[in-house]
């Protein structure tokens, strides 16, 4: 009989911004995201174990894909394909690798490869602009910011999304997007400067 693997009393939650999007993954018996037992079970074909590993990350994966690909249908495809690739590469999930970074890296890779595959993305990008109703006071700044973010290169958008929206550390952002931490930091600086927002510190 193997001994129960040691684990924290409470599994770590997905670190999201502390605003309204916070979601408790679980309390008892749920996936400790670094639980080797779960990985073993998932590799053995245990759907519940696989779900416990990547299921809670699916909404964030979808949003990342939607930001990357700017197309809900493609984002959905990307997440489904990423799930399959994640299951196939479970054996490459090292014990010291956080599941979140590992899975979101697969999603980002999938998005990049889908983006490369579509020759029409530039054409579609042009159709994003919509006619807006007259703006109320305060809305104009918001719309400017929305426009600026939408005009950023996809990778820069992904950096901002991971760093500001998912509140991930820069090192993890860099790992997911396969860029250096310095490059991730530069991209955040560049984007924020371009959007004329206040920059105080980027060091997480």
């Amino acid at each position: 009989m193997r001994q129960r693997a040691s684990r924290k009393a409470r599994p770590p939650c997905f670190s999201e911004p502390s605003r309204s999007r916070k979601r408790l993954i679980g309390v008892i018996g749920t996936a400790s995201l670094d639980d080797p037992g779960l990985v073993r079970a998932a590799m053995a074909g245990d759907e519940l174990a696989f779900d416990a590993l990547v299921g809670p990350l699916i909404p964030h994966a979808y949003r990342l894909a939607a930001v990357f690909l700017r197309d809900p249908g493609e984002a959905e495809d990307a997440v489904q394909e990423a799930c399959l690739k994640a299951w196939r590469s479970l054996d490459r999930l090292r014990r010291d690798t956080a599941v979140r970074a590992w899975f979101l890296t697969i999603v980002a890779n999938q998005c990049r490869s889908m983006r490369r595959a579509r020759w029409w993305s530039v054409v579609r990008r042009a159709t994003v602009e919509r006619s807006e109703p007259p703006l109320m006071e305060g809305q104009e700044d918001r719309m400017d910011l929305d426009r600026e973010v939408s005009r950023l290169p996809d990778t820069d958008r992904a950096v901002l999304f991971l760093f500001f929206y998912l509140d991930l550390p820069l090192a993890e952002v860099a790992r997911i997007l396969k860029i250096s931490p310095q490059a991730a930091k530069s991209r955040v600086h560049r984007a924020v400067t371009r959007m004329r927002l206040d920059m105080v510190e980027v060091s997480k």
Partner: protein
């Protein structure tokens, strides 16, 4: 980074993503499709064989298509039969078969209270999330009740062990306990022939579930009694590794019956309290909820990270540290067979563990129960039962229907907001008042009470109360007042007396009307305020 900047950029993404909400069911679809596709690819033959198989398949399909066109001209097509649920049954088993994505239901009996010679079933049903299918397996375990089943995640099959057969009568005239082991592979049953096997007495229910730590199926039950006295039963824990049973030797073990709840990364056993299997011992990790009847059902909900339990007509959840009574808009009327159904990401409750009156299917979505499929039997509360209802409604119901006895007393003061459940005939009634979290309960009624005896810390007094009728154990104007644990301010306590009055039914008529008031979770002062409010 200043927070305003972070919030403004995050809000920008919020607005952008508002137009692309996460599709409903994406998690379920993506995870299921990935595992299914990967499993399929793992089992695929080499490419050359696959090519040959494809050619063969095309030939077969072509033959079938041509053949079906020929046949279609002469054989009328018939619609598929409607998907009727299995008949309501007690003492059956239901588990989620991960490998095939469906629920598997086996055995039980379409009746209540097994008797030797009474037929039980050995039918196997599966539910795929939409419809029920009755399987006609070439081999199947003989008909039985009270067997245990679990999904074996390590071997991708459903394991069934033991039970009680009602069709065979052993020499001593009692039910025959089985100790055979079967596995279900999604289409047929296969009997296993392990070198070792438990010999359980299934008059005390056994329970079984997959242990994610040892990656074996764990079985908890009780050994056969040699004396026929159930108090001599001894609990045993066994594990199934796919080919043989091995008895384990935990140093601590529950002594009462219970239900295993598997899921997530640990295995729990709800038996008198909550126990966790640590790989070699059962470790107590928490108490049961306030209203545990021992007749409830439970399943682990990985979505909410909670145990969900149907017990005492209520839905309870346990988050690892505390029980909470939930307030769903609707819920099953009975404690059903419960299992987490991964494709829907919901806990399913089907039918009734203890009766043959219900075959509804419900799903718990984390906050309420939704009726998935209405059964074929209209469930009706037993005659004379009411509730849960407001105390005033229960009082009106009792006063209207208890017509052979006078006076009908009821409390007019309760310590907290409570709901009431009443059970009555024209002669008697019993009403249970329960607080929201069931931590305070009051039971009152005209009953012939037989309260359990007290321990060394109990107190039994004669107290002046109302105009009670004199009895052998108490003079006129006195009642018997019992407190189970005088060191606990909210100990269980009861009060028993004979109220002057009449019972017109000659079969139960006595010197007056026997009343019994008991409570748990109330202080002495609260208890007497309830007692003194009786009118």
């Amino acid at each position: 980074m200043s927070n305003p900047t972070r919030d403004r950029i995050a809000a920008t993404f919020d607005r952008e993503l508002e137009a692309s909400p996460v599709p409903a069911g994406l998690r379920s679809r993506a995870v299921h499709a990935a595992v299914a596709a990967a499993r399929q690819q793992q089992g695929q033959p080499p490419r050359v064989l696959a090519l040959l198989a494809a050619v063969l398949a095309i030939a077969v399909i072509a033959t079938l298509v041509i053949g079906s066109h020929v046949l279609r001209s002469s054989v009328p097509t018939r619609p598929s039969p409607p998907s009727s649920p299995p008949a309501p049954r007690s003492d059956a088993s239901l588990v989620f078969d991960q490998a095939h994505g469906d629920l598997v239901l086996f055995g039980g009996q379409a009746g209540y209270g097994g008797k030797v010679g009474q037929a039980s079933d050995n039918d196997t049903w599966t539910w795929d999330g939409k419809s029920w299918t009755l399987h006609h397996s070439a081999s199947a375990p003989p008909a039985r009740i009270s067997q245990v089943m679990a999904y074996d995640t390590a071997h991708h099959d459903v394991v069934l062990f033991g039970g009680t057969t009602l069709t065979a009568t052993p020499a001593r005239g009692g039910p025959a306990y089985l100790n055979d082991t079967w596995t279900w592979n999604g289409s047929t049953w296969k009997e296993q022939h392990p070198a070792h096997e438990p010999t359980f007495d299934f008059s005390w229910p056994a329970t079984m579930a997959f242990d994610p730590v040892s990656r074996t199926v764990l079985l908890f039950g009780f050994t056969k009694s040699t004396s026929g006295n159930l108090t001599n039963m001894r609990s045993e824990t066994w594990s199934w590794g796919g080919a043989d049973w091995a008895q384990l030797s935990p140093s601590s073990s529950p002594q009462g019956t219970g239900a295993m709840v598997g899921g997530g990364t640990s295995l729990l056993l709800i038996a008198g309290q909550i126990w966790r299997w640590d790989g070699s011992n059962w470790i107590g990790v928490g108490p049961l909820h306030n209203d545990a009847t021992g007749l409830g059902s439970a399943a682990y909900d990985p979505q909410g990270g909670q145990i969900v339990s149907l017990d005492g007509g209520d839905t309870w959840t346990w988050d690892g540290s505390a029980w909470t009574r939930q307030h769903p808009q609707a819920q099953p009327q009975t404690a059903g067979y419960m299992a987490y159904f991964a494709p829907l990401h919901e806990v399913i409750s089907w039918g009734d563990l203890w009766g043959n009156t219900n075959n509804d299917m419900w799903a718990w979505d984390g906050s309420t129960w939704n009726l998935v499929q209405r059964g074929t039997v209209a469930y009706a509360s037993p005659a004379g039962q009411l509730g849960p209802a407001a105390p005033a409604a229960a009082a009106a119901y009792i006063r209207q229907n208890v017509t052979n006895t006078s006076p009908v007393l009821l409390p007019t003061w309760l310590p907290v907001t409570m709901d009431a459940t009443a059970d009555l005939t024209a002669d008697f009634f019993n009403v249970d008042y329960r607080s929201d979290q069931r931590d305070k309960t009051i039971t009152f009624g005209i009953v012939v009470a037989n309260p359990p005896p007290g321990g060394p810390g109990s107190s039994d007094k004669r107290v002046k109360f109302r105009n009670a009728v004199a009895l052998k154990y108490a003079p006129a104007g006195y009642a018997e007042y019992f407190v189970y644990d005088t060191s606990s301010p909210t100990s269980a306590r009861w009060l028993m007396w004979i109220e002057p009055g009449t019972m017109s039914n000659p079969q139960v008529a006595g010197p007056g009307v026997p009343y019994f008031l008991s409570a748990t979770g109330l202080t002495d002062a609260e208890f007497w305020q309830v007692a003194n409010s009786l009118t």
